[in-house]
């Protein structure tokens, strides 16, 4: 055992491997930071180059790009409110308000520290508990997924802002948008009006850019100009005390990321939102979430980065990719004769240890890469809007087009931008829209799968301990939301009554 670990270390420690993982991280951060360029695209583009590299070097390069991109997505989310990845949409909630207050640098640092911590936790989970976690993940059948997603939907209450009703309206729109396209079971087209583009459903990235970045810009230009008010730039760094204060949320977020990352098909976006809403519920600063709270940025990024190591668990131990990006990495494994799955650990244990060393090493390198990136990007927040916004508009259009080289996607982005502008005007938060859009199809598909398997009997949702666990969590979560709302209402009433009495 110890010898194979040592042999693995020796295999890892070559100049090629270190350069590959470092280069991958740099490319990943840049790719993640450009709206419309996704980690998937970066990994897919790099894949052919790896055909001619040694196996460990090539996989480390791809893993580096993947990890870099997940972190990189937080940069434009904080600085220009344009999330580069779906998971970064959650970072917008507190990151952008912080940037508006002149604290972009601080938010970026917290995102990096939280991200690296979560990345490390996730890597450790991969290395030590891969087998255990994989067999647990396999127990998730359609009914278990369904109850998990049902519970995840209750996080909408956590990102609604002031009004639960407005949040639910937003979520309703999101669900509606998610139904567009071919249905999974019968392949019948819904709300597609015979268009081949609509049959494919709405694309994620254009929707994301349209919903978050465009409304802000439209709002800026339609508003009466009140003269430029320079925000005071706060160059202070994240202190050890501030990191310590958020550590609990970071660790909780990392664990949420690990669990959701290990279950194939869930992904980083639900993890970041769930981590955020749990942090909001448990933190003593919970009420200030959404107004530029450092801990909110930490929680969101911890959830997103906690996924990155864990998604490799089903990939390596079961041979099943959890998302598109790991599907590409799966291709790289196979091309180098390291077919992922149970045999991988039997036949190629030295290579696996070499990979593990590299992956552990990547957490430290990510910190270094991120620090350099922050220096370059934090100053962007100081660029006046009259210069920044036109650039962001160009990036939005470029980004929406680049994902699929399709003008239809640009149309989707513009449409979503207009919808988002009206939502902004009516104070309807965009985050519930996004969560519903992501979770809606998972909710529906798993409900229908379960009922197909059970021949229509609802008993299947109560058939396992995992189901009961998530049902209990859902009930508890709904109860807490209702109680909090009731309490706020009576408090408000009491305050009004007191005010009336005082008169």
């Amino acid at each position: 055992m110890l010898e194979t670990i040592q042999a693995g270390f020796a295999m890892f420690l070559t100049v090629h491997n270190v350069v590959a993982i470092f280069g991958g991280l740099v490319v990943g951060v840049v790719v993640g930071a450009i709206p419309g360029m996704t980690g998937t695209m970066g990994v897919a583009l790099a894949l052919p180059f790896t055909f001619y590299m040694p196996p460990i070097t090539s996989i480390l390069l791809l893993v580096g790009i993947y990890k870099g991109a997940i972190y990189g997505g937080s940069i434009p989310a904080i600085v220009i409110k344009t999330p580069g990845t779906p998971a970064a949409a959650c970072t917008v909630l507190d990151g952008y308000p912080m940037a508006r207050k002149g604290q972009a640098g601080k938010a970026l640092q917290m995102a990096l520290y939280a991200g690296c911590t979560a990345d490390l936790v996730s890597n450790i989970a991969l290395i030590f508990f891969a087998g255990f976690i994989a067999s647990f993940a396999l127990r998730f059948g359609p009914a278990e997924y369904f109850t998990l997603i049902t519970f995840s939907l209750t996080i909408i209450a956590g990102v609604c802002g002031a009004s639960l009703t407005r949040g639910l309206v937003s979520a309703g729109f999101g669900l509606l948008a998610a139904t567009i396209g071919l249905d999974l079971v019968y392949g019948s087209s819904r709300l597609a009006f015979g268009s081949a583009d609509l049959m494919g459903g709405l694309n994620f990235i254009p929707l994301l850019i349209g919903l978050f970045a465009l409304p802000e810009i439209i709002n800026e230009y339609t508003r009466r100009q009140s003269g430029h008010v320079a925000t005071k730039v706060d160059r202070s760094s994240v202190t050890w005390g501030e990191y310590r204060a958020s550590l609990k949320s970071i660790l909780r977020g990392s664990l949420i990321g690990v669990v959701l990352g290990a279950i194939p098909g869930i992904g980083a976006a639900p993890a970041s939102f769930m981590s955020y809403s749990e942090a909001k519920r448990n933190s003593k600063n919970g009420d200030r979430f959404g107004e530029g709270e450092l801990e909110g940025v930490a929680a969101a990024e911890a959830g997103a980065n906690g996924v990155t190591g864990a998604t490799l668990i089903p990939l390596m131990s079961l041979g099943v990719p959890g998302d598109v990006i790991t599907a590409v990495i799966l291709g790289a494994f196979m091309i180098h004769g390291l077919t992922p799955g149970p045999t991988l650990f039997q036949k190629h244990i030295t290579e696996i240890y070499a990979l593990f060393w590299g992956i552990l090493f990547s957490s430290a390198l990510l910190l270094l890469t991120g620090k350099v990136a922050i220096r370059a990007f934090a100053r962007l927040g100081e660029v006046p809007n009259s210069i920044l916004f036109p650039i962001v508009i160009v990036l939005c259009f470029y980004g929406a087009y680049a994902v699929n080289s399709s003008m239809f996607d640009v149309g989707v982005m513009v449409g979503m931008g207009v919808l988002g502008y009206f939502m902004l005007k009516f104070d309807i938060p965009p985050a519930p829209f996004l969560i519903a859009f992501i979770l809606g199809p998972m909710f529906e598909d798993n409900l229908r799968r379960s009922l197909l398997l059970s021949k229509g009997s609802f008993g299947i949702f109560f058939s396992s301990a995992i189901c009961w666990f998530f049902i209990a969590l859902t009930v508890l979560s709904v109860y807490l939301v209702v109680r909090r709302n009731m309490r706020e209402r009576t408090n408000r009433r009491r305050a009004l009554a007191d005010a009336a009495k005082a008169k």
Binding site: G141, A196, G319, V320, I335, T339, L452, L453
Partner: protein, 331 residues
């Protein structure tokens, strides 16, 4: 500002003119004179994407220009295929055709905006063996056991697929048809992608699965899943003990197989077709390409445009006939 010496001006004009002339002749005669875009109609990591990227990694040596893979996804491959169908007929936009988007899709859904054969065939590239698998602890030891169980308890067993119009569903459906059973002889449970369908079987949530071998090969070799039959004409090299469907007496099931081919928009110029058929003949002997294909669990299967046409016609007709019989055709 310094003025240019007068003798430079005519020289500049001459250079510009010859460059234009040279450029023009290059466009007309020498294909290709610029990079070629190869559209993969499915997302990164899928079979069409990997097939495209492996071809793109070796093709430049034989074709003389870079080949750039672009994923244009959506609508089960329809969006990307339609894009190439309507692209300029100059050979600079080609399609990585797949069984799903170029045979099953058009066969089951006449509303798709292109006809299955309204393309220029440049050549078939690879076959992806298809297997019927069960979990290792399943009571069905052989293909015969599985068939017997489906016959004995119609509607009781379940199988996972990646959607109704995919070969993951067509395999079991064709089997039911051969056995004279109705379409609901076992319950179809659709997942997103072949990976999801395989996970469902690994977790024991469904009873069996028909799928591309590459998706499950590692789990079969590790003894977590049991392969009952392959649809390739010969036994698969990596699984010598698994019988073919022909050996088992179901030769019709051989139609159910994954494949990738290189297509162009309809009516491509002759020199483009010639350039690619010559290049593909050489690629068929390329060690790197063959090695990559084998490692991905595919069978290299480069064929001429004429052979490709026969193969694709046969594919379309079988799926169309099956779809008609089972009432799977979309109106």
């Amino acid at each position: 500002m310094k003025l240019q010496p007068s003798w430079l001006r005519p020289l500049g004009t001459a250079i510009a003119a010859s460059a234009m002339l040279f450029g023009m002749t290059a466009v007309q005669a020498d294909y290709p004179s610029k990079p070629i875009e190869l559209v993969a109609p499915y997302g990164p990591g899928g079979a069409s994407d990997l097939a495209a990227r492996t071809l793109a990694s070796v093709a430049p040596q034989y074709i003389g220009q870079p080949v750039l893979v672009v994923n244009r996804t959506g609508g089960g491959g329809v969006v990307g295929s339609n894009f190439v169908h309507n692209a300029r007929k100059d050979g600079y936009t080609l399609l990585m055709a797949r069984v799903g988007s170029e045979a099953v899709g058009p066969a089951l859904n006449p509303t798709i905006p292109y006809k299955y054969n309204d393309f220029t065939y440049l050549g078939l590239l690879e076959l992806n063996p298809y297997v019927f698998v069960v979990k290792a602890d399943s009571p069905y030891k052989t293909f015969g056991d599985l068939v017997k169980a489906i016959k004995a308890h119609p509607g009781k067993l379940s199988y996972s697929t990646s959607g109704p119009g995919t070969i993951l569903n067509m395999g079991p459906q064709m089997l039911f048809d051969i056995l004279g059973l109705p379409t609901n002889a076992a319950t179809m449970v659709p997942y997103k992608g072949g990976g999801g369908a395989a996970t469902a079987l690994l977790g024991g949530h469904v009873d069996f699965l028909g799928v591309n071998l590459a998706t499950v090969l590692s789990n079969v070799q590790a003894g977590k899943l049991r392969a009952l039959a392959v649809t390739t004409p010969q036994r698969y090299e990596g699984l010598p003990k698994v019988p073919t469907v022909r050996e088992l007496g179901y030769p019709k099931l051989e139609t159910i197989i994954g494949w990738s081919a290189l297509y162009g928009p309809p009516n491509l110029p002759k020199n483009v077709v010639h350039k690619w058929t010559t290049a593909l003949k050489k690629i068929a002997k390329d060690k790197t390409w063959n090695g990559l294909e084998t490692k991905l669990g595919s069978v290299p299967y480069i064929r001429s445009p004429e052979q490709t046409s026969t193969f694709v016609d046969n594919q379309f007709n079988s799926y169309h006939a099956l779809g008609k019989k089972l009432g799977l055709i979309v109106h």
